[in-house]
Amino acid sequence: MSIDMSQFHEAFFEESFEGLEIMESELLTLDVGAGDVEIINTIFRAAHSIKGGAGTFGFMNVSEFTHVMETLLDEMRDGSRDVTQFAVDSLLGSVDVLRTMLEAARDNTEVDEEMVAARYAVLNKILKEEVSDSSSVDDVEPVPAPPADASVNNAVGEGWVISFIPHTDLLMAGNDPVRMFRALSELGELSAKVDYSKLPPFTELVPEDLYLSWVLTLAGDISKADIEEVFEWVEDDCDLTITPLVGNTQNEQAVAEPAAVVEPVAVSTVAPRPVKEKVSDNSAANQVAEKKKPVTKPKKATESASIRVGIDKVDEIINLVGELVITQSMLDQVGEDLEAHAEAASVGGDSGSQKINADILLRLNKGLAQLERNTRELQDGVMRIRMLPISFVFSRMPRLVHDLSAKLNKKIDLQVSGEETELDKTVMENIGDPLVHLVRNALDHGIETPDIRLAAGKPETGILTLNAYHQGGNVIIEIKDDGAGINKARVRAKAIEKGIIAEGDSLTDDEINHLIFAPGFSTAEVVSDVSGRGVGMDVVKTSITKLGGRVVVQSEEGKGSVFTIRLPLTLAILDGQLVTVGGESYVIPLIAIIESLQVDRTQINAVAGKAEVYKLRDEYIPIIRARAVFGVEDNKADLHESLMVIVEVDGSPVGIIVDELQGQQQVVIKSLETNYRKVETMSGATILGDGTVALIWDVNGMVSVHKKKLNNGVIKA
């Protein structure tokens, strides 16, 4: 029976990565010293499952590596080894290595052998340290099989005489001599002689006990190991001797070693195992060799990766599809009625047709309304399939905080809430790195060392809060620390030094805080290896903007900072404001819009040599004319009573003048890049209800194009 094992790989990788997460989070909760046995057990089980699966599905390097981890965990579990910080950290490091190995196996890429070897060395070093109970160490290395044994076991000849004397309780474990005899008879010609001399008188007979014994003769060219395998499970429940059948044999081997073959089975059955291990070692080596071959194009498994969907979500969709089918048949009926009605009308029967018409129309309307509701619900349901709880990303943080706080000598209490908040899978995959960066940043620059905190009258342990929740159609993620906050004087000085702002610029506190997102800005005096990895906060901002989201920071010196990320629930559908500019419809993402208003002439200020600004309540905001950006003829010199949409760009408001404001609606985003090419002012396109294509604005792009045109004199100030 040949079974394609690769069909189980996906499930194996999925559960293995889950297992790694469990190992990691449990290791982080494991107390040094007296480790909680239940926690160690959980970690052990996860490792054990990965090891078993990896072996079964042919990832021998993973299986062998996990075996070493498992050995260490086993010693911790049975108490023969103390739970030391070093051991816990080594296991955490091993989890990372194991993850890399699994990813390499999944993506069919090479694994960094040096890294693996280094980790082996660390684990083996721990294992070699003194243990109170030395017996479990034997598990580490399989005892190599003495090759001589194998040849004895495989000695072949005319056949064998088997003396099988079961203990009375042999049946109790579900073993049955009949089945063993059947297995033997498949090996060769079997004849049995039963000895029932031990059978007690009927009155003393216990029906569940076995009183019989046998002398079996098995004729044929059979290896002793095959026979032993039949009795493998009962070796301790019987007295078994297997001797070669001596007839007029000409087999020299069997004659040459008669002493060896009569040895008790109990000893020799152990031998075949290591031989098998050796075989698997070889196959592992082959695999490594195969992997060394140049892989032309490593398959990126994440692209086609699966998502686990709760049955309830699927059921809901099936339900909705059912509803849709009902609506469809209802509309179908209306259509037929209309057709029949039209025919009747053409024949000439005019009486009461008006009334029927109205009735049919009513039903048509009702059907369409139902269709609309079904469609919307179905859309929601399908979207929800792609939704995953944000715990997928948040779960990386405890480890990060654990490692970093040790490195930075800071005391940090990580508080996570809202882990169940759901987010689109694609958004999730892309928000991980920015979040990690923000957390690193909060730990590195935000929270102070214990002595500084104590001196400032704060508790020595800093609090880092991660929170996520839904608001409107958005997901909000907050990263909050109670650290030093943003040092505005230093940020300002740095920004001037880097040429981001001019010396005389007057900026609000908020604007100064947002300077940290400016490209090329870094306040750390020395670029540390914690948060300064060549990427700054500008990259964080860019990644979030790419996802159609926004990030803002609020900070108070001495009290701490809050970074708030606002993300769309999904990337496929967008809540948009429809506007018209020069006769064309456009969509502005609702997430970017602060408000829309009608321009009042008295509030416009045209500063000489600079762009127009608008006095919105008590702040001045720049005005951008959408027509000018798109190069459409602008006939309005006076903006009085024009419509202005105020959007947020880089944390500050910008007013964009449009011709008309239309309704708000959800639009399905189609990529411009795949269908046309990248357009700086647009983030995508969509198809409206009437079939026309509307472009979706990228407000950041709008602002930068406006700036360019202004600088080039294309737009007159």
């Binding site: 079974i3 052990f44 079964t56 109790m172 474990a173 073993n175 049955d176 301790d236």
Partner: protein
């Protein structure tokens, strides 16, 4: 053919074992730990139980003991799936009343051969 209860906390192993046995014409019921398996065992009858050893909630050794305590499962073949080649671990299963064991990693052919040993 036979009705088999497959117990493993690892979904991929369960899939593999189950797929293989079904392919050979057996009827398979899956359980992801000992507690679930015991409930299934009590509510139905099985010709063979194949169980992993290390599982959450109830491990395979305890499951074996519990099953042997049930009148219907006194003689039912129970096979443990173990990664331990050491005699000590195999014996833990035997002492609990397991019929035999199958050492991981195993391939579908080995699984079927082992199942055949105790069925029929």
């Amino acid at each position: 053919m036979a009705r088999i209860l497959v117990v493993d906390d690892s979904a991929s192993m369960r899939q593999m074992v189950s797929f293989t046995l079904k392919g050979a014409g057996h009827e398979v019921v899956e359980a992801s730990d000992g507690v679930e398996a015991l409930a299934s065992a009590k509510s139905g009858s099985f010709d063979l139980v194949i169980t992993d050893v290390n599982m959450p909630n109830m491990d395979g050794i305890t499951l074996t003991k519990e099953l042997r305590a049930l009148p219907n499962y006194r003689f039912t073949p129970i096979l443990t799936l173990t990664t331990e080649s050491s005699a000590e671990k195999k014996m833990a299963g035997k002492q609990a009343g397991a019929t035999g064991w199958l050492v991981k990693p195993f391939n579908p052919d080995q699984l079927l051969a082992t199942a055949k040993k105790v069925l029929g």
